[in-house]
Subunit: 799 residues, 2 copies
């Protein structure tokens, strides 16, 4: 028990941001040096795998010039952990106010709450479905107009020559759409870029990503995705649906919009992180459900990515939201397609129905499927590595909004040009069948009654291309067409992901996979006798699509269910599972999944499911931040203001202590209070003037805290006069009197388990007399990860 009582001063520091070194000068705002980072302060006996500071400095100096002046770049080193991300408070602060409210509430009250949770989930599902429907209809309409215009133009110029004019028309149309999409994203809401899945993963993991669930983000996201899909980029509209669902959930559940300054005075009980996060997981599930027509897949997605604590009632609500979402989308689309009430074709993407008899599989095919899974894993890893390099490049050199817009337009133009060239030089003509009527058949140089088969793949929305790869008759594509298509689309998609447009990677992945899968099937059929079970290449297209998608995003359980639900056929469950598992194992050998790469590049303190395997020899004592800034139960207002105003240590949680004897350190823990709570107290001037004996202490209610949630004002905006600084503040009623604690000897995996299972933000470390010696936060735990050389420690960065 020696060596444990470190010197802890009650007013020094307690930080959600963990192990910030004491001596390092920290600056704030945009002036701060780009890569100021601190190695973890004292206490750690732990140096394995740490990059030496010298290496880092060298690496950085060379970049510094190019980086200067960039307002919001992300550190492009995956061995960093950013301090700018905070945790959600998934653990309720059970202070007196809260307990009083809960105790006042009758059983009927709780029933009403439960019912309103269901109502909110229903609303979330409904609105998410509506948004999906809106996106779908607008995209179909605009893309239809675009393809018709270009088709007419091409047909006009095929005869008379001068197809270059058609090419220019096509490229300009694409670029124009993409420009609009990129401008709104780059200039108005950069967080709306990409698929949004990494951000939602982080949010569900418990990280508060700034601005990610705001109304403005939703609007930009929806507009952006429409523009980028219509602009012909190699993107899908499915990923953004997940983000959209999450935003809808965060908005609806709060019963107000801070952006629109409109408070409906409903659902006030849900205005805290615990409830909000639960609803956001329902929203994400509803998004998946709308995107793929996969309600069960949506639930599993939410659980696989988010929930650490499985709660049956919550799961059912999530399920309900997913169900309503599919249903709504389905119903409105059926009206739009003039067969009102036919609900059998859910989802934005519809893989078309695989009839079981035609595409049964045999045991002998299982090894083939597994091989395809391995190919998918390899190609996925390649995709991810290329995209990683590209992202690093973008972070360094393409960080100004106008540059970003220009890159997006360039990609759009190149996509059009490449597609055009592929179609132009292809001479794969296919007869125009009556039953498989193509939407926009391009005759080009084919004979009458025939169409260009390359154009089915390129001159189409990606969803339709996937479907035709799955379902067109054997012989519709020739192998060369498919090979060329796979190759070009692979690089186009890889280039496209990470552009400053809002767009998803699901559909491009499926498309690439379906193309090489079909190619695989065709080759297989050609080397075996015809008419055998190998005859249908559509089956292999499906497996290839699963393999490629699995190799890129590395989901297993939820993706299996999503694929099964989207194909509407359970028979393929088993091979899809095998394929996805193989793809994951093979891919993980080389590089992480695409979303994880992007999360790492943003230095998000993401907590995995378990502590690193070899971390049993670390204890809370080594991991915790220490010394800790504590407050007394009755604290001077001036002290509180000073601590909160200290920009070098942007602490968010403070243990509240009592001193048994004057001057004894460390002091006994008696509660935990959050920065946000203190801010509200200061704002409402809940002070005890010593002279007037508590007369001015206003009675605060939970409502005051809820009204301020989630955008608590900064401390700088609160004016505290000199007189007020001398007052005292009684924290007893507002602090959480029973924070979770662990002894200093607790092993890291044990701390991790407690932290993760309960979704904590702060975990107080106490000695054997219940005195505060440290504080463990998300960043203290996320710092440790398993690298190639064993346990490594990430560095903390201010950016």
């Amino acid at each position: 028990m020696a060596n444990i009582t470190k010197k802890v001063s009650w007013s020094s520091r307690a930080d959600e941001s963990g192990a910030t070194g004491e001596g390092t000068p920290l600056l704030n705002g945009s002036e701060q040096p780009r890569y100021s980072r601190q190695l973890s302060g004292g206490g750690s006996i732990f140096q394995i795998g740490r990059l030496s500071t010298v290496d880092l400095e060298e690496e950085l100096t060379s970049d510094e010039d190019s980086l200067r002046g960039r307002p919001k770049e992300i550190p492009h080193n995956e061995k960093l952990l950013s301090l700018k991300y905070e945790s959600l408070d998934y653990d309720n602060s059970e202070n007196q106010l809260f307990l009083e409210e809960e105790r006042r509430m009758s059983y009927i009250g709780f029933r009403c709450l439960e019912i309103s949770r269901w109502v909110v989930c229903g609303l979330i599902g409904f609105l998410t479905g509506l948004i999906a429907c809106f996106i779908d209809i607008v995209v179909e309409t605009l893309a239809g107009v675009k393809y018709l215009v270009v088709k007419e133009n091409i047909e006009k110029f095929t005869e008379v020559g001068g197809l270059s004019i058609s090419l220019i028309l096509w490229a300009v149309l694409n670029s124009a759409f993409v420009m609009v999409g990129a401008v709104i994203v780059a200039f108005f809401e950069p967080i709306a870029a990409g698929s949004g899945i990494p951000q939602i993963k982080c949010y569900l993991n418990g990280v508060k990503i700034p601005r990610v669930v705001r109304l403005k983000t939703l609007v930009v996201k929806v507009g952006g995705v429409i523009c980028s899909v219509v602009g012909g980029l190699a993107v899908g509209k499915e990923g953004p649906m997940i983000h959209s669902g999450a935003v809808v959930a965060a908005g609806v559940s709060q019963g107000r919009s801070t952006s629109l300054k409109k408070d409906f005075k409903i659902f006030e009980y849900f205005r805290r992180d615990t409830e909000k996060r639960d609803f956001v997981s329902a929203g994400a599930a509803a998004g998946v459900s709308a995107a793929f027509g996969a309600p069960v897949g949506g639930v599993l997605f939410s659980l696989e990515e988010g929930a650490s604590f499985w709660n049956q009632m919550l799961t059912w609500r999530i399920f309900f939201a997913s169900m309503i979402s599919t249903f709504t989308l389905n119903f409105f689309l059926s009206i739009y397609h003039n067969n009102t009430g036919d609900l059998s074709n859910p989802g934005l993407i519809n893989f078309g129905r695989f009839e079981s008899d035609s595409v049964a599989y045999n045991l002998y095919e299982i090894p083939l499927f597994i091989a395809m899974g391995a190919i998918g894993g390899l190609l996925g890893a390649l995709f991810n590595v290329l995209n990683y390099w590209l992202t690093i490049f973008r972070i360094r050199y393409v960080h100004r909004p106008c540059l970003q817009v220009m890159e997006a337009m360039l990609v759009a133009a190149v996509t059009a040009t490449v597609s055009f060239a592929m179609i132009y030089f292809s001479n794969d003509c296919q007869p125009l069948g009556p039953e498989h009527a193509e939407e926009y058949p391009l005759q080009l140089f084919c004979a009458d009654g025939e169409y260009n088969s390359m154009a089915t793949a390129f001159f189409n929305t990606p969803e339709r291309s996937v479907r035709s790869l799955f379902h067109n008759q054997p012989g519709t594509y020739n192998p060369l067409t498919l090979g060329m298509f796979t190759l070009t689309y692979f690089f186009l998609a890889c280039w496209t992901y990470g552009l400053t447009v809002s767009a998803g990677v699901f559909i491009p992945s499926l498309l690439i996979g379906a193309a090489w899968g079909r190619l695989f099937g065709i080759l297989l059929a050609s080397i075996t006798s015809s008419g055998s079970i190998w005859a249908d290449p559509g089956k292999y297209a499906l497996i290839g699509a699963a393999a490629q998608l699995g190799g890129i995003v590395r989901m297993t359980l939820s993706l299996t269910v999503i694929m099964v639900e989207a194909t509407g056929n359970v028979t393929y469950g088993l091979p899809i599972m095998l394929v996805l598992m193989t793809a994951k194992i093979v891919g993980d050998y080389f590089v992480e999944g695409l979303y994880d790469i992007h999360i790492k590049l943003q230095s998000v303190p993401f907590l995995h499911w378990e502590a690193p395997a070899t971390s049993h020899w670390l204890t809370a004592r080594e991991v915790m931040s220490s010394p800790v800034t504590c407050f007394n139960r009755i604290e001077k207002v001036g002290t509180i203001v000073d601590v909160l105003s200290n920009t070098s240590t942007n602490h968010n949680g403070f243990p509240v202590v009592v001193h048994v004897a004057p001057g004894d350190e460390p002091a006994k823990l008696c509660g935990l209070i959050l920065r946000s709570q203190l801010i509200v107290l200061l704002k409402h001037k809940v002070f005890v003037e010593l002279a007037r004996s508590r007369l001015t202490q206003r009675k605060l209610q939970l409502k005051d805290f809820r009204d301020a949630y989630p955008r608590f004002p900064p401390i700088q905006s609160i004016h505290v006069s000199q007189d007020e600084r001398e007052c005292m503040m009684d924290l007893t009623e507002f602090m959480n009197p029973t924070p979770y604690t662990v002894p200093q000897e607790t092993s890291l995996p044990r701390v991790f388990k407690l932290f993760r299972a309960l979704g904590l933000r702060h975990l107080v470390v106490v000695d054997d007399q219940n005195r505060v010696v440290g504080l463990v936060t998300r960043k203290d735990l996320a710092r440790y990860h398993l690298g190639k050389h064993g346990l490594e420690e990430l560095h903390l960065a201010q950016t």
Copy 2:
């Protein structure tokens, strides 16, 4: 802070069994009075809803005569909580030995462990699949023989008269099979009775049900289910598969069989409750997967019923086990059915494929489906209430094994007689179609080329009956046949569930539902114009089956996926969900689900997902057991032996304390030690003889604990001499030095959340100086539940 320091003596009591009154004399063994129960001892301020003791006494005296001499009856009052059930230790005891082992292990070591976990899950899936295959083949063969014999006999006697002989033959055959099944269950392993799902639910919830995962249970279960299905009872073989999978998992993961006295010296790392429970959840999932061909459904079942802490890796392993299980079953069945390698028809029960085009549904049908859900909920509640009364009756009057066997035989004979009567008096003749060839078509009094349609329902294994109800052409059954069938089968199934045979309730429920669903469809078709969308009654049979099953068992998410996977068609996902939710809501209004009723009747301390809603005004202080039996860090052997031998307080966990000053009470917490650990220490005589200065302290290893797991010897079997009683025992190395603690003011929901999320067995309650004041165990939390009159407290019973 007043009123909190209750008198705590360090050697008085700390009990997993919670609030046993101090003054009540407790007896042990079979001599003890049947209904000795204790109201919760001091501390509780809480009397709402408590049955007055007088009422209980009255109720009990009248029963006592009939109950005398019964060895193992269960208390037939759902307001009791039995003390005989213990918790699993899902929380690792991170003592020095454990930490040393973990720290010694390299990264490669952890990888190997992870791989062996996958291997174990693969084995679990494989063996579960094999067992399912074995059951299926044996049942098919024996049932085939039986039906052929009876059919021949009936055909012989139809012409010449004397069908009563056929009836007797049928009844005797059935009774003989059932007798064998009932005898092995009643006399050899009573825990193998029923479907086993309630027991597995409890196990996954964290309750150690004695003998539930033993090899003997598995053998009896498999034998029993074969006999009862072949015996023609209204039962299914699916529920028992879940139990079988769980037993397989518990066996395989331990790398040894205690029953067979065979230790393979592998998987020794997994010999603790944490790992074992994880594997059991994989086994249960594999069981579901084999039973219904629903791997995803299996995973969801395990999660819905069991896991409170969702871990991605664990989920993937569960998924893997499920997948292998379906695959194995599928593969071997395909060999058996002579189409080796065709893997498209998984599962023991196969609902047959619903082709989408023929059975599409329309928005207008949704309200109809919901109405059917409500009917299912009502009928399910009726079923459950009837079965509840029946179970109470059985507990009181049918508790001797021979009586149980006789009841089972009676039910078998009655089932045969009723079936025969129904067939005999039915004159619903249908033409013998070539494509829908019935397995055992009974011509009886029908014209040549026709068969008796009632016989398709009764004279068949239930699985086949379900399938023909789903898929036979419209017009195959007439409404009267279906109505009569529903009515009789409902009561037969209700009577059958709870018999001392091993059998499931899934298939009978589906069959009842399919029958009235089809009836519903036929009626609907007859009141609307023919040829419309209503024409296919198979669709309504499916919905009815879902509604009835949902009304009885009240699962939603997992059942939806199971149904979808078993029908092989995703289109019905949405209506099935709606139906199951409606059935659950309607059913829950009246009575709980069937499994929950049986769990309650066994007085199992089952923890629900959340604390009762209105329990915020209870704190750890009111909930905890106090005073607590603690040990010193270095304790006298005699004291330990005495405490462990005290049969009146069968404690399982003891806080280890240090006294800062002599005589100060309560003492400071420094660890937690389990009864099982102390037993091992005593068995290996890990004593410090004071005179010889630690010479005899043998170095114990984790292996010694693992070898003793899970059947630790009772304290009575360990001889401790008088000299040894004077020795000391140093617990430092073996206790868990960092048990989870909560302060006394913590609210019940908060305690509950911590306890549930981490799967704890003991939670130490400490004061503000880290001194032990109480202990919270499963029973302390399970005691509180929401009754009709608000929060109620259950009584604790020794049985």
